[in-house]
């Protein structure tokens, strides 16, 4: 067999006038871990979809294990030994592990009956061979995200896949789960499997991959050995200019307490305790970062702070904004106090995809008198405001941005800039609540958004930052609280944070211990 598992030869894929991939060529060695990095819209996903048979290339060839192939469908890809773990898992949650694994490829006995035993035996063989232990009869919905991902990987191995594509596999994992995944991937590669991993986390690339291909605007910029790369060089290749990975900032000079959360308990409609005696306080002019793995109560805390607890939830404790209790207030009343909120899921909560940029830039602020005329909106003022924001926050689109453009046409990072612009410029802003402010945002835009957040802090605004990215918390926050099972388990003071920031990797590990 040839030493090359996959060879992309001049792959081109167009959508209308837009080149998603433009003569992309590189090869992936058998038994190696190969990372593909690039900003949103760089063409990584398109390329993987071509490899997985979801798209056909307009030009170029795919060579799999030395043979030129036209991959017609995912089924065909699997036949050729290519499997993919999608970012959002393709599992049937109420079914058991073994049912999920054999789904679509069920062994039968007597021609009609499903031979579950046979599947279980095979599953055990695979588990043992690759060190991926799992209990076959548990339902997938009862498993942690890390184990669900393991099911996805086993599903591919069950189908004899030898080339595994993983799309942003660590996005939803805890640090410990990430470690385990990396161990698994390395051992899979060791026995001859080929791993292709799409990611935007440069740290992980450097730790995990053998080689890295960098894409930008549909083109392959370079393929280089991971050992010879650094975060800075990769970031520069991705963005096309030097990028400041850690924004510089002065020490915070905190003032009065703005937000005071005392002993909050939140029990959801199903009776599950989501917040359990959580207390924290944020002062004007500081950034308080909440570090934690998703699902430890962050979402509930956000809902509570924004006056939107779920129906049927019971809440005790107190939340005060500059001394005014805000539990029980509506989002609009809370906003009127001078609170802004960038919600965790932008598409779901912060923008209306089919509205124009100008309609979105006032969304949630559309009742401010400045934007209104007698019956409708004061379009002149609205457009002037929008144009100002677009240039101030450097919002860009492929065709030159205009306020009337649909926000859905913008990249994730640019949509987030619009949301950030809207929330940061709220009149009389005193408290800024940021949840996952740079999720799905390109490196270049991350630097920009971070800069704006620090500027806000320096204007004496209190900032509450919730992020699953420890590196983001470390580079932005002045104080850090580690959230675990609905409570702040450990708090780092301003002096502690300032000191530990000098060794970010150490600090990240330390934080990791308090959130799992």
């Amino acid at each position: 067999m040839s030493p090359t598992a996959i060879e992309f030869k001049g792959i081109t894929k167009r959508f209308g006038d837009f080149y998603a991939n433009r003569s992309v060529s590189f090869s992936v060695e058998r038994g190696s871990i190969h990372a593909v990095v690039g900003e949103n819209g760089a063409g990584k996903s398109t390329l993987m979809k071509i490899l997985y048979g979801l798209y056909r290339p307009d030009a170029g060839d795919l060579v799999i294990n030395g043979e030129k192939r036209r991959i017609a469908s995912p089924a065909h890809a699997i036949e050729l030994g290519i499997g993919m773990v999608h970012q959002h898992f393709m599992l049937v949650e109420p079914l058991t592990v073994v049912e999920n694994i054999m789904l679509g490829d069920e062994p039968v006995k007597n021609r009609v009956l499903i031979d579950r035993q046979k599947a279980v035996v095979r599953l055990f063989e695979l588990s043992e061979k690759f060190g991926l232990s799992i209990s076959p009869y548990e339902t997938v919905e009862s498993l942690s995200v890390g184990l669900q991902q393991r099911v996805e990987i086993l599903k591919l191995l069950y189908r004899d896949a030898t080339i595994l594509i993983l799309d942003e596999p660590t996005a939803v994992l805890t640090p410990i789960e990430t470690e385990q995944l990396f161990k698994t991937l390395k051992s899979l590669a060791k026995v001859g499997n080929t791993i292709l991993i799409i990611t935007h986390k440069l740290d992980e690339v450097l730790r995990l991959a053998d080689r890295v291909s960098v894409m930008r605007q549909g083109e392959l910029i370079d393929t280089l050995p991971a050992a010879s790369a650094t975060k800075e060089t990769l970031a520069r290749l991705m963005v096309g200019r030097d990028v400041l990975l850690n924004v510089e900032k002065n020490d915070a000079r905190p003032n009065d307490e703005i937000l005071s959360i005392k002993n909050i308990t939140y029990t959801d409609a199903k009776g599950v305790k989501r917040l359990d005696g959580l207390s924290l306080s944020v002062r004007a002019g500081e950034i308080y970062g909440i570090a934690g793995v998703e699902g430890n109560g962050q979402s509930e805390l956000l809902k509570l702070l924004w006056g939107m607890p779920e129906e049927g939830a019971t809440v005790s404790g107190s939340v005060a904004f500059s001394g005014t209790p805000i539990l029980g207030k509506t989002p609009r009343e809370i906003a009127a106090l001078g609170v802004s909120h960038v919600p965790e899921d932008r598409l779901k909560y912060a923008v209306i995809n089919s509205f124009s940029i100008s309609d979105n830039i006032i969304f949630g602020r559309h009742y401010e008198r400045d934007f209104l005329s007698v019956v409708g909106f004061n379009l002149k003022k609205l457009w002037a405001f929008c144009a100002e924001m677009l240039s101030l926050f450097d919002v860009r689109s492929a065709k030159g941005v205009s306020p009337s453009e649909r926000i859905g046409n913008l990249s994730g990072g640019n949509q987030q800039k619009v949301v950030t612009a809207r929330e940061l410029t709220r009149p009389n802003l005193k408290l800024l609540i940021l949840a996952q402010p740079t999720r799905g945002v390109d490196i270049g835009a991350i630097e920009f958004i971070h800069r704006k957040v620090i500027d806000a802090r320096d204007k004496n605004i209190a900032v509450l930052l919730i992020s699953a990215e420890l590196s983001e918390i470390i580079s932005l926050a002045d104080r850090i609280g580690c959230i675990y099972k609905g409570a702040i388990r450990k708090e780092f003071s301003q002096t502690e944070v300032a000191k530990r920031r000098e060794t970010p990797n150490e600090f990240e590990k330390q934080l990791g211990q308090f959130i799992t």
């Binding site: 909560y349 923008v351 949630g364 559309h366 009742y367 209104l372 409708g376």
Partner: protein, 342 residues
């Protein structure tokens, strides 16, 4: 880019043509000449003042029930209850109209009749709104069920309360509440029942368009329909918009009674407005609930409706029901097909 825009715009027209072609095939299948039949239909509808008047008269209630679907649709609600709202609006209009003094000036009687029709429809729709926002019951289910309740209620009221004994119709309303016919006012569309309600429907379609697309209220309403969660995050009172849009829809559907009772029969005969609510769904869906395009869509259905009658002697009206149905199917199918081509 531009060519696809034109294609986009011509899509409903192509779909309508395709539906007529299919109807033509059916006409051939029953042994008639489609050119002759269509020719007769078009000359008798669009070729005479009376025919045009009939088409406009039939389009009027469809504009109203179309809007009654479109407005809540913008708030993400599917109001299938136009049928019931129209029936209740009509009976209230007929009952109040009959109770008015015959000498009451039209300047008072007509507005009273209109308000009665609107209140009737709105009150019926408010039940849906209440169940939806208070208890979270799907408006699709309640609005369908309330249609049947309305049929029964109206049947009872005509038979035992407001009706003339031995008939299934109400007594005549006060002369003051008669809505002037266009032929009486202008001499256009001689003898056809098209009346001032037509202009009311036109004005309302324009008003709904302006409210939905030009005001802060409409901006919030559309946000509620497009992304309920985001609307709540933005501090919008989502229940308020659901309630108001449903009640307004009921009022619009109720006005069907004004066209029928005040402009045409001057009493309510059982079954007189049946079907307009359901047809209104098709009218709105055909044009993606755009308030102004609803005018065109209602005209098309008015044309098909009356067109079917004009050729009833040669081809059974059912053939035209098939064409009507085909129009809807073709438009919807072509929407999907175009999406896939992109």
């Amino acid at each position: 880019m531009n060519t696809s825009k034109y294609l986009e715009a011509s899509r409903p027209i192509l779909a309508v043509l395709a539906a007529f072609l299919l109807g033509g095939v059916l006409i051939i299948a029953i042994g008639k000449n489609p050119v002759e039949i269509y020719g007769k239909m078009f000359s008798m509808t669009l070729g005479t003042g009376y025919g045009v008047g009939q088409v406009l008269f039939r389009a009027t209630p469809l504009v109203l029930t179309g809007l009654a679907v479109a407005l809540p649709f913008k708030a993400g609600l599917f109001n299938i209850g136009g049928e019931g709202q129209a029936a209740v609006g009509t009976i209230v209009c007929a009952a109040i109209g009959a109770a008015l003094s015959p000498s009451l000036s039209p300047m008072l009687a007509i507005p009273i009749g209109l308000i009665a029709a609107m209140l009737g429809g709105a009150s019926w729709a408010s039940i849906i709104a209440l169940l939806k926002t208070r208890f979270g019951v799907s408006e699709v289910i309640t609005s369908i069920m309330l249609n049947f309740t309305a049929y029964a209620l109206v049947g009872y009221l005509i038979a035992y309360q407001f009706g003339i004994e031995g008939t299934m119709r109400t007594v005549e309303i006060s002369r003051g509440a008669f809505m002037p016919r266009l032929d009486a006012l202008t001499g256009l569309f001689p003898r056809s029942p098209v009346n001032l309600s037509l202009f009311l429907a036109l004005a309302l379609a324009t008003a709904v368009y302006a409210v939905v697309y030009k005001t802060k209220y409409g901006y919030e309403l559309r946000a509620v329909g497009l992304n309920l969660e985001a609307a709540r995050y933005a501090g919008i009172n989502t229940n308020f918009h659901m309630v108001v849009s449903l009640i307004a829809a009921g009022a619009l559907a109720g006005l069907v009674g004004a066209n029928y009772v005040m402009g045409y029969k001057h009493y309510y005969e059982a079954g007189g407005v049946n079907g307009v609510g359901f047809l209104g769904i098709a009218v709105a869906m055909l044009v993606n609930s755009h308030p102004l395009w609803i005018l065109a869509s209602a005209l098309l259905f008015g044309l098909l409706d009356y067109g079917g009658l004009t050729i009833n002697a040669d081809v059974s009206k059912e053939i035209f029901l098939v064409v009507q149905a085909a129009v809807i199917l073709f438009v919807i199918a072509s929407q999907k097909a175009f999406k896939q081509m992109e």
